[in-house]
Symmetry: C2
């Protein structure tokens, strides 16, 4: 099978680009065969035909100099690049580029753990370092530092951070915990940001802001540069850790749970991501749908009831943890009991109460920074399971939680899907993650999944809710909802793009940001 070309690039120019990168990186690090090599860069869970996001090639530089060589060749021949780190951004498009024909700039080979600083509690990593890699390294050297992994441990520490990912320990806001960045601009210039711009700086990974504007945030969820190194603060292992789970009997309890969690989070009684998980999420990580129901459409109430009995779970299941010396944990747990277990029907569980429970076990690991892959069992809920995440941000109120739940659940059930969702409370916000599961072998189901997503985006925006992250297929549409004052923010992003990447070679279309001349409809 013949490969495809990047948009607007002649075969001759593409061949020259390939030759130049082969020369700089070695032939074995330039991938061209569409059947073999490039299938690794598909979105395994795509609802649209794979051709929509088919890469023309993938190149894997080993260091900054090779990144610069790729950028030079791309600029010279007008070849667009799609930057990925470990390529595990599944649910949001995985390693696939936004635009078919884009060359994937794959940074997995840049996988050095450059520094672990035990004294000051931080690490410095390259893009190819996964949560598993960093965790294993810390274990190996006997470190007393925790990481804060995303639910799937194969994710990249850097890639997740620059996509504004969140975790489950008290260090769950990854961008907040970032300190120090190395970025290669489209023209090849390497920049150390903030304190790192001082030669011989002793505080590169200790103080976030440097002197002058703080530009680091601009290189996250964007296509303005290639982030090749990042500093991230790590949490020192606390003297104690006690995770807990509270089950709730009624659907409407979500309102009261959320109202009571808000002050507990604001007052740091719950220092980590306070997570309310709907029963099907709990179920799908350990059971298959056909164990309970073989009909069409969402699971009926009778089956839901049976599941709750079998698994000893609630309609909603709340997870949190206490950290610190025992007296501090005990004080906080007492407040938590008073506030959260006093809701009628609530039951609290600790580790000894959930022996052998798969769902409990992986959350217990995540809240103490141990990466694992258990959550990927979700994909087994239905045959040929694929998924995309719909991720609106919500205020931490009972009314908003119920409104978002109904908004999504009703549309989702109507479209024939199960609602599989969770809500994670951070500093002031709630991430509502709806994991839409569909059968990859069923074209009609994939089409309905895609349509449902579009419907959800519009309905959420109309209600004042915006998403924090999204799949390739919906970047333009969601960017288009952030359109206050005639799209002033989007136009600002475009101005950065024009200034930093005038040739438009870096990740065209990422988060709805397009190079000049390719913007029609981007803000529509």
């Amino acid at each position: 099978m013949a490969g495809i070309l990047p948009p607007g690039v002649s075969e001759k120019a593409f061949r020259s680009f390939v030759a130049a990168t082969q020369n700089a990186l070695g032939k074995q690090h330039v991938f061209l065969d569409p059947e073999w090599d490039l299938s690794a860069y598909h979105d395994q869970y795509a609802t649209l035909p794979k051709a929509e996001h088919q890469a023309s090639a993938a190149v894997a530089p080993a260091d900054v100099a090779q990144v610069q060589a790729v950028l030079r060749a791309a600029t010279q021949h007008g070849v667009p690049l799609w930057t990925i780190s470990t390529g595990k951004n599944f649910a949001y498009g995985g390693p696939a580029p936004r635009v078919a024909g884009t060359v994937v700039l794959y940074l997995k080979r840049m996988n050095r753990i450059i520094e672990v600083n035990e004294k000051h509690a931080y690490a410095v990593v390259e893009p190819g370092v996964s949560y598993f890699d960093l965790y294993r390294h810390l274990q190996k050297i006997g470190s007393k530092l925790w990481i804060d992994p995303a639910a799937p441990g194969w994710g990249g520490v850097l890639g997740n951070l620059v996509d504004h990912g969140a975790g489950y320990t008290p260090y769950g806001d990854h961008l907040l915990m970032q300190c120090g960045m190395e970025v290669v601009l489209a023209d090849g210039t390497v920049t150390q940001t903030a304190m790192g711009a001082l030669p011989g700086s002793r505080t590169t990974h200790l103080y976030k802001y440097g002197m002058g504007p703080w530009a680091d945030g601009l290189f996250t969820q964007s296509n303005f540069g290639v982030v090749t190194r990042i500093g991230i603060w790590l949490m020192p292992e606390p003297p104690g850790y006690k995770p807990y789970m509270i089950t709730y009997e009624r659907e409407d309890d979500l309102h009261e749970i959320t109202e009571r969690v808000r002050p507990l989070k604001l007052n740091m009684v719950i220092p980590n991501a306070a997570t309310t998980v709907e029963m099907l999420w709990e179920t799908a990580v350990q059971k298959q749908k056909r164990d309970y129901y073989t009909g069409k459409g969402p699971l009926p109430d009778s089956a839901r009831k049976k599941i709750r009995e079998d698994l000893k779970i609630g309609v909603w299941n709340f997870y949190g943890a206490a950290y610190g010396p025992p007296p501090i944990m005990e004080t906080n747990l007492e407040v938590i009991r008073d506030a959260l277990v006093s809701i009628p029907g609530a039951k609290i569980y600790f580790d000894e109460d959930r022996v052998g429970d798969i769902a409990w076990d992986y959350r217990k690991q995540l809240m103490r920074g141990v990466p694992n892959m258990t959550e990927y069992n979700l994909m087994n809920w239905i045959p040929n399971g694929g998924h995309m995440d719909f991720s609106p941000i919500s205020p931490v109120t009972g009314d908003d939680a119920m409104r978002q739940y109904h908004l999504i659940r009703d549309r989702c059930n109507k479209a024939g899907f199960d609602y599989v969702g969770e809500m994670l409370v951070g500093w002031r916000d709630m991430h509502h993650i709806f994991c839409l599961l569909y059968d990859l072998g069923d074209e009609d189901e994939k089409r309905r999944a895609h349509d449902l997503f579009e419907d959800l985006i519009a309905a959420a925006a109309a209600a004042g809710y915006g998403e924090y992250r999204t799949h390739l297929d919906f970047m333009d549409r969601i960017a288009g909802t952030y359109n206050w004052n005639d799209g002033a923010q989007q136009k600002l992003h475009q101005r950065f793009k024009d200034q930093l990447d005038p040739r438009g070679i870096l990740s065209p279309g990422k988060m709805g940001i397009w190079p000049k001349g390719r913007r029609p409809g981007a803000a529509s």
Copy 2:
């Protein structure tokens, strides 16, 4: 006395600018008289002649529409503007512009407290709102939210934040606690950042990042736009508060204090800014130098000894506080005693032990978010007292603390000044603030102060320490120390400048960022 003109602007163009702004703002909000009106925009503590930073005019818009009108007139006539909020950035230049002749864009009239959200614990303010304003408003409405003021309570909530200011409660990293921003670009475009860009957004001040690049940091310590509104998270009043002070007898104790504070901060045993204050800072807020010494040069040891006895203070004086329910405070205080009071000679004091102590009292207020002006007593240490702050960032280690202390103290004493300093430990860094006090009536002393500053910048940079903020007179010099890879970061800042403010009308020279054509020597 005749006024001056902005650089490169003809008298005719300036008059047209003035007429246009008078027309838009009202004559009473355009200030022109150099003797009367414009003396308010001097740096009261300048070491260089006032002419160096003399404004040609000041304009005070009342709202965003008037800001836009000023920007239009400035663009049309090529008039540069220097944006200030409350104008209280003293020690760093106060309200004065970097370049003589620049028109001050004074935002004090935009002083609305737009929202106080008790439920979600945040406030939204315009640039003219001071810490006193916000505090009084919260008191008036019976709010249970704390603010986090800078030491001088007249400072602006927004202005301090965009200058990367820090405070003394657990919410002391102001930029970290910022959420939501309105910015007017040089071309007059108004942008709401992050979630605020979604019309009708319900999470503008609850989630920092929105979708896509996070640009807010770019509008801090810069001249890329005029920030006209900001959201800031406020700390809910904790159930308990117990401040403490620990005195240390020996100069070298700084090493051990710092070593022991580091793990206490990393583990959040001390949740707020852990502050180690040198004895002269404690002294100068309540005594005058001549009470103890009338000779030239730094205070001799004999006088220092007498002071310590009189004021019951140490050579170093450590301040921190416990927050929360009593069992949590007690647990933390026990750890703090074990770690910090076990240094030989250390004594711990609580509120009941320091009745009538001015220094204790204002720090006790600051650590619970009550703004005051006590620290300004520092200016009374010597006659005609002026001050500038030298503010290098340090790692939190004993070695670094001692090295910075000696580096500054020795040069400072040699130049004939007292070392008046403190060190504040945040998440991972230590802000070392050296408050250089000099006699404004003594030209030789001012010259020596200026020269000392230049010496300190070079010596600190050579040792790997950079400053986080600085006085107008040293912006270029310090920006020039952040010159890794041929000034890559500074060039990046310049590219932002060229894109967002191609005419160069916004705050030329701020933090060493100059418009095109005015950059000679900026990076030297």
